[in-house]
Symmetry: C2
Subunit: 325 residues, 2 copies
């Protein structure tokens, strides 16, 4: 018997399978099933949207639907952490071919829901439409609960730069998968599912962070955005980054030798990068650099040039940051 | 000189063109450019997401980018009207091929912004990614301002059904375009851009409506959802619907004769359909039917069978409702 497809089940059939047994939340008055969902925030609301496209951001032969769901939700939820907001809920627009197995769509939704659970959020609603390739657009809603949002523009000379989370693991995993390998398992798993340090955005806010960003494109690029928005420069201490054994293995085998390239220019692990007045870095965070005065006040392109490593421009082997086009 | 593409401009270049001169709002504390946008609601928050796919929901040869933007935003914003929420802002995830003209993307964004302006909302942020086909996912945020959301489940036997907005114009336009014609202009324009009766969701709420839905799939299908959610039946009065001259022309020429088919089974005009206790229908709304007790309590599929026309099942020529798969 052929596996059921999303076309067999239909939009409404699929929605009823996905929403059966969905977790609710005290903050959510109206969940999926009406024209819109409704939730009750206690402060200002933070919102961000992120799309992931099949064969651009993920491949079905590399990642199962549950992992794609977790990654799509996690990468979007990280944007709420980066503002110091508490994740409340997500809505998902899923576009997929009519012959997509129905199980792919339902497992994808379970992955979204699992990642939401880690963040303290729920699946609020969605939309399912037909298209040639799978495209997943996740919009996340967060509650600032009275906090002032932590922006990219608040870094000040004299601050220290600190981080919490994983760096360069997903990038090492991508290097492995792109060459047809499936190991080391640690980096391959990292490429499939990010490890967002949920709750640490609020910790950073409460500790007195002056700026915060999630690392989606690599520390050079993401701290470049912070430096540009704040009118400062940033210098990173390469020795401060933990290098994982699996990253060393991958770099030695296929990466030309330097695992630091993955760490500095690889995104998608969704660690958090913050700037803090000296002495205010919260427990569990690692100091990785410092904020310096700007040399030239005008806008510098690319922003990565505002970030140095051990006092010098980074001359790693890969182009910094992820370019969507 | 070749026209610039989105790849020429790059993600950040495109974003800076789109966000230059963007309208702000008193309710919006943080607009586009940081990890997330921030707004200040005065009550519960309503959220809904909708995707539109090139060659499934629109064709670039039929609709310019400005119209696609207006339609994507309008069809999503209508879901907020259907809850009685005040539109505050939208976030947009745009996926497009690298060779898409940059002007297409910027004109699309201008269309989104123009439609937002009609609704009293602003463009809060977005994401631009690469993909084979254009996919537009719009998420809308609304403020209930202390109102109880108007759901699909509140219709009661004895209520009247009333509507505000356009019916079957987009469907007649689609029939024309699908056969290679470009006239009558009224229906072709209707297919390109919906006419959402902004503000009327709150009017319906304040008048005492018991249920509300926006008409995205045709009155038979959408009122079928209301009937199913409310445990009632609905009977429509076919003579109550205005038939436009252009609809008559199209029906006579290519539709087999009955313009009522477009009106009852055609969606995408995004009129509002509400149920009201007798005597509470607000000015500008037209009574189109009545709510009857349910005959059988169990779930009926398809939901359209819960809606009759002039006391009998509808035997129009098209299958009711829009099926995504």
């Amino acid at each position: 018997m052929a596996a059921r497809t999303v076309a067999d089940l239909g939009e409404f059939g699929l929605i009823s399978v996905i929403t059966a047994g969905l977790r609710g939340s005290d903050a959510v008055g109206v969940g999926p099933g009406d024209d819109a969902a409704v939730f009750t925030p206690s402060g200002d609301v933070a919102v961000s949207t992120d799309a992931m496209v099949e064969d651009v951001h993920f491949k079905r032969v590399w990642s199962g639907p549950h992992d794609v769901g977790r990654r799509a939700a996690g990468s979007a939820l990280a944007d709420l952490e980066a503002l110091g907001a508490r994740p409340v809920g997500v809505v998902v627009a899923l576009t997929c071919p009519a012959d997509t197995p129905a199980d792919w769509a339902t497992e994808f939704a379970r992955g979204v829901e699992e990642e939401c659970g880690l963040a303290g959020a729920v699946l609020l609603g969605g939309d399912i439409t037909r298209g040639d390739k799978i495209v997943v657009a996740v919009t996340v809603l967060g509650d600032l609960q009275g906090r002032t949002p932590l922006l990219r523009s608040g870094a000040r000379p004299g601050d220290v730069v600190a981080a919490v989370g994983r760096f360069g693991m997903a990038a090492a995993g991508l290097a492995v998968l792109a060459r047809g390998f499936r190991s080391p398992g640690a980096v391959v798993r990292a490429q499939r599912v990010p490890e967002v340090p949920y709750g640490q955005g609020i910790v950073a806010h409460d500790a007195g962070a002056t700026s915060l960003i999630d690392c989606s494109d690599g520390p050079l690029a993401d701290l470049g955005h912070v430096a540009a928005a704040s009118g400062v420069r940033i210098d990173l201490d390469s020795a401060a980054f933990d290098v994982n054994e699996a990253q060393k293995t991958v770099a030695a085998a296929i990466g030309g030798g330097d695992p630091l390239t993955y760490i500095l220019t690889g995104g998608e692990d969704h660690a958090l990068l913050g700037t803090f007045p000296p002495g205010t870095v919260p427990p569990g965070w690692t100091v990785i650099g410092r904020v310096l005065p700007s040399v030239e006040p005008e806008l510098v392109e690319p922003v990565e040039t505002l970030v140095t490593v051990d006092g010098a421009p980074w001359a790693g082997s890969d182009a910094p940051g992820w370019r969507h086009f």
